[in-house]
């Protein structure tokens, strides 16, 4: 009886698993069968992060468009947890989603036909002129050169430092790598933790290594790598990994502690005065200010370059973007929402209600932003390096994060770590 049951199960499995065709439709093809966005509904279902300004922006939109009802579902959705892919493939996902930006992530959805190309919407509604041209250029870096995302904001990563600790130990903001290591040494000798990092959940570790690689290889070389004509095993990039190893070797950064903490824990410790420096985006300081932390005793500077005299640049990356479900039934309502996102009123409202991301829009004069966000905006205007994790495809991004953890725990040499990233990048391309 048992054998009969086993044989039956095996036969059923074989019948299901191995149909005649070598290529079959994937599960949940709703978006593809819908024939693109339709216009049969005036209600919008939106899913995205819960910003301090979210409720205000939804309310203002509904006031301007009384014929459109909006349901905003708050919650983090991410590629790394699989929720974005699943929602879109289900065929009944929200009309609009706020997701992690960049061709490495959004490009996958675009290639699969799950999201709507927005070039026509941009052209017919004059949206292109409302956004920073460099941001629009970056969003077109996918395989077909079309725009699929409207960027909500950018992150600009710099070294944030504790001014009081620096003053107490007679330290100035370092301008080159040698000076940075000396600053670390002084703090270390005084019993202060020179740097904090939280790499357990990967993101912040990637920010730190990205800043060091930028300080070593420079913007042009990193631009080549991001755009496919350079390599992560370039000696200048490997040197960036070596800079991380040097920080650990010299006691500037406790690798074990950095691997044990997540990004939030490290940031929290830093804003409470638990360390001299940390690499975080502007949003960290803006959030701390909103949480009532006195951030006047903190400042920021770009990671100093390895070569004396070279330009010190912060790194930056697209942070979050709006994408449109290809199976939406609310085409015109979606377009109205996109027009709202690009409007100066939206920007002003978000700025007034606690925006912590650097705007991707052209910012009108007189717009009052958080000082940390304002600083990030100025840095973007002058030019920044790249935060690689935004631009790398899945496997290479994972290898990038593993490179950070491998160097922090001293289990990977910088050479092997960067070679691992390059191998995955080459395979992905």
């Amino acid at each position: 009886m048992k054998w009969k049951l086993g044989a039956l199960l095996l036969a059923a499995t074989t019948a299901v698993a191995l149909p005649g065709c070598a290529t079959v439709a994937a599960p949940g093809t709703g978006s593809l069968n819908a024939g693109g966005p339709q216009d049969t509904s005036r209600s919008l279902r939106i899913m995205g992060a819960d910003f301090p300004y979210t409720d205000a922006t939804v309310a203002a939109f509904e006031q301007q468009h009384p014929d459109i009802s909006v349901e905003y579902v708050k919650g983090a959705i991410s590629f790394e947890a699989g929720s974005v892919q699943t929602l879109l493939r289900s065929g009944s996902g929200p009309d609009l989603l706020l997701v992690n930006s960049g061709p490495g992530r959004v490009g996958l959805l675009a290639d699969a036909g799950l999201i709507w190309p927005l070039d026509e919407v941009f052209a017919t509604n004059g949206l292109a002129g409302r956004f920073d041209p460099e941001v629009v250029r970056q969003t077109k870096a996918g395989t077909d050169g079309k725009v699929y995302e409207i960027v909500e904001g950018l992150d600009v990563f710099q070294v944030y430092y504790n001014k009081k600790l620096f003053a107490a130990h007679g330290l100035q903001v370092p301008t080159d790598w040698r000076g940075f290591l000396d600053t670390c040494q002084t703090l270390h000798d005084a019993g202060v933790k020179p740097m904090l990092a939280g790499a357990r959940d990967n993101f912040a570790g990637g920010w730190l290594l990205g800043a060091l690689v930028q300080a070593s290889a420079g913007r042009d070389k990193m631009s080549d790598i991001i755009n496919g004509s350079g390599s992560f095993d370039d000696p200048a990039v490997v040197q960036g990994g070596q800079m991380l190893a040097d920080l650990i070797q010299r006691g500037c950064l406790d690798g074990g502690q950095a691997a044990a903490l997540d990004g939030g824990q490290a940031e929290s410790a830093f804003w409470k005065g638990g360390g001299g420096m940390i690499v975080v985006p502007q949003g960290s300081m803006a959030n701390a200010r909103q949480d009532g932390v006195d951030v006047s005793g903190f400042g920021s500077f770009p990671m100093p370059p390895r070569e004396p005299g070279a330009e010190a640049l912060p790194t930056s990356g697209l942070a979050l973007s709006w994408v449109v479900n290809n199976s939406t039934k609310s085409r015109s309502a979606v377009i109205e929402w996109l027009r709202w996102l690009a409007s100066p009123e939206y920007l002003a409202l978000t700025a007034a209600k606690g925006r912590t991301l650097v705007p991707a829009q052209v910012v009108p004069a007189g717009t009052k932003l958080d000082p940390a966000v304002e600083d990030g905006l100025e840095k973007v205007a002058k030019g920044t390096g790249f935060n690689p994790s935004v631009y790398l495809p899945d496997a290479a991004k994972e290898a990038w994060y593993q490179a950070v953890q491998g160097i922090l725990t001293r289990r990977l040499s910088p050479e092997r770590a960067m070679q691992g990233v390059q191998d995955k990048l080459a395979a992905g391309r």
Binding site: A12, T13, V16, A17, L18, C21, A22, T23, V24, A25, A26, P27, T29, L32, F79, E80, A81, G82, Q85, L88, R89, L108, L109, D111, A112, G113, L114, A199, R200, D201, N202, D254, G255, G256, Q257, A258, A259, A260, L261, Q265, A269, G274, D394, A395, E398, Q402, Q405, G406, L408, T409, R411, L412
Partner: protein, 295 residues
């Protein structure tokens, strides 16, 4: 009632359960088997048949083999800490003669098991916090600060540290099974042994443990299956890090699916571990049954 009507009645009564099993167990299982034979990134509209390539890739991936060996270590820890801890505590609680105190302790020790794995992860992450954690604080306070470690940041300590947290969450379940079995042991055996001069340890070793043969074998199987599924605590505490040192097979499969977009390999890894679990469980049960017949 005729035989036909009786069969029909049984079928009708079973139908709701069978439907639920079909929807929530058999169909996903069949889908998993199907996915393991295709390459798919989780977003593309089509999947390409890969025959057994996914299985070959997974079983030749050093990361999978390391994850498998970590899972064996994890199972051994789970067996020692959760099952062993549950057995010892069950024996101690059964020795409490004051009924109300026994009920109180029985309830208290079960509390960790009713917590979600995510909550357990958060609690233990804070306990292991390198600077403000209770564990390092305690070591500092008693002058053993040299032993303080970044528990979750060390590639050598992270797996045992998470294993302790996971065992803390799980032992209550095994304890309840053991306690029920202990309470079914004839008290006269203990009384006779006590009259003969046997101490608590001797009674535990020579009466309690042999009497729990069936309960122990059941718990070992459950612990084995639970250990193979080890994911929640690991993911909430370390996400498989640092440097993959806590990456169990379940974490490997999750990472393949969602971080790397390789649904086929993830399904192959998941099904591989399921087959291993079934084979070992069936083998263990057969051995147990034969041993029982031989006794």
């Amino acid at each position: 009632m005729t035989s036909t009507r009786r069969t029909a009645l049984i079928a009708v009564m079973l139908l709701p359960s069978l439907l639920l099993l079909a929807v929530f167990l058999f169909l996903p299982l069949l889908r998993g088997i199907e996915l393991s034979f295709y390459t798919w990134n989780g977003v593309a509209p089509v999947m390409h048949r890969a025959w057994l390539d996914n299985y070959a890739r997974v079983w030749s991936d050093p990361a999978f083999l390391k994850a498998l060996s970590r899972t064996v270590i994890w199972w051994a820890m789970h067996l020692g800490l959760a099952v062993g801890g549950g057995l010892v505590l069950a024996a101690l609680i059964s020795e409490i003669r004051w009924r109300r105190a026994q009920t109180l302790f029985r309830g208290l020790v079960f509390v960790p098991h009713i917590m979600s794995l995510a909550v357990v992860g958060v609690i233990w992450s804070q306990l292991y916090h390198p600077t403000i954690g209770l564990l390092n604080g305690f070591l500092d306070a008693i002058g053993l600060d040299k032993l303080a470690e970044p528990w979750l940041g060390s590639t050598g300590l992270a797996l045992p540290a998470v294993g302790v947290a996971s065992a803390w969450q799980a032992y209550g379940f095994y304890l309840v099974i053991f306690l029920a079995a202990i309470q079914a042991v004839d008290p006269a055996l203990h009384e006779a042994a006590a009259i003969d001069g046997a101490g608590p340890w001797q009674r535990f070793r020579n009466i309690t443990v042999p009497s729990l043969h069936n309960a122990i074998s059941l718990v070992v199987v459950l612990a084995f299956i639970n250990a193979l599924k080890g994911f929640g605590t690991v993911w909430s505490m370390t996400e498989g890090g640092p440097d993959r040192s806590t990456e169990l097979v379940a974490v490997y499969a999750y990472r393949q699916a969602f971080s790397l977009g390789d649904i086929g390999a993830a399904s192959a890894a998941g099904l591989s571990i399921a087959v291993i679990a079934v084979v070992i469980t069936v083998g263990f049960n057969r051995w147990r049954d034969r041993a029982a017949v031989g006794r």
